[in-house]
Symmetry: C2
Subunit: 285 residues, 2 copies
Amino acid sequence: MRSASQLLTLLERRDVQALPMLKALYPHTGKALLLGVTGPAGVGKSTLINRLITVFRKKRKSVGVLAVDPRSPLSGGAILGDRLRMHEHFLDKGVFIRSLATRGSWGGISPSLFGAIHVLDAMGKEIIIIETIGVGQDEVRIAQLAETVLVVLSPGMGDAVQTMKAGLLEIGDVMAVNKADVLQSDPLRQELQESDPNRPVLEVSAEAGSGISELLSTLEGFFKKKDLVRSRKARFAREELQWLLYERLEAQGKGFPFTEDLISQVVLRKKDPYTLIEGWEKERN
Amino acid sequence: MRSASQLLTLLERRDVQALPMLKALYPHTGKALLLGVTGPAGVGKSTLINRLITVFRKKRKSVGVLAVDPRSPLSGGAILGDRLRMHEHFLDKGVFIRSLATRGSWGGISPSLFGAIHVLDAMGKEIIIIETIGVGQDEVRIAQLAETVLVVLSPGMGDAVQTMKAGLLEIGDVMAVNKADVLQSDPLRQELQESDPNRPVLEVSAEAGSGISELLSTLEGFFKKKDLVRSRKARFAREELQWLLYERLEAQGKGFPFTEDLISQVVLRKKDPYTLIEGWEKERN
């Protein structure tokens, strides 16, 4: 049996060797609680996750963290970077932190993300935190794989953030306003509360460590919502199947079937792309 | 012959009726100059495009604008909104402005975007401006379809924007720093200039209308770079073929083949997704 790290690397490369291992470990999964943490860059997600890891560890829960970046085709250097960011847990055997490149070959999400979650689950991690870097359609979709979604915002991030919040407002089960100690968070808090009066909005300071235990109990309240967790688990299964399917369809395409010469003819308007695609389809059937 | 607007609606819906029309008009395309305009929300892209339309119109060039949003599955209300934003050109027959939803069914870019560009090109639009709303991997990819890419930034947008700039820095042929009249733009301008000393960085104020003619002549300089335009046109053709191909592969998948009952069994770990996908593949072959 290879180490979890090696298996994650195989998965990230979509190496076929990972497949029998995934099949073997799948029946041992489904026990972990998945927490998605998302929000714009610079709001302090990693620092807050660091704090959450500490409180989960105090409760003797083992924790896995996957920092996923759907923009990057391969994670490379980010792995070390993320470990360093969460350095205080680096030597704790009960904490496993990994960066993961999750961009699919033609865009979208790579199925390796789902496999990585199963690996951490089978390792016995009781809490798996999925941190997405950046804000976009793919990131939102990734955060939604979790059973509980925590959206982290910070006051005073201006216009750009106003737009970003749109997608984030819809997916958050719990909203955290970070940097409540140094920035005036009240207007943002109020705005968030008005967007959904029933949803918890918490002020925290990841840096100073305030508001963390309230955040923890709110999250634990969500972990206990059996119906919600069940429907989220079904969504996860559906998404994994869909991306696996998509990957197979891509593989059946066996790469890009048009030569540079054909492309020149399209550029020169001697051929049109629609007739070329029809020809390609006929040839395959 | 239907109107261009009707054809664009058919395209957006991926209605098969659009296909023979696209084939018929394709030989009449390839003459327009494609200008991509991208940048974070709130930097004043639309106001700047408004200014550019005015100067192109003074030179008696007909202009088409496609405001594309890869986040949204259908544009809906945005159409009217965008027309209103560029209201001063609303009654000008030489200007055609359209919002377009360009999200593919499973993510990525919908091939309708390419078709829409061909329609505007065949209509005789000499300049086609592709404005992307928001900043992300898909937006960057869309902006790169153009022969010249203008990236619009604005000073003082903070941390979130620092991150966004990463992808934008790589794709801009010309960088415009907007709001140069009200915000201190010098540090941003300098930073952009240092990132690539050979690339033009221009300070403009879309609101006040300053710096627009310098921007125009810089863009026109790019339109004249024959080798660059040729290589960009080849990239466009390759991308269109790739997304058409991807769409066909999706269609061959004939929708999602797994029932809710099967998904429950996956959730309960009675079945694993990998064996299900293998079964699906065997059945099809």
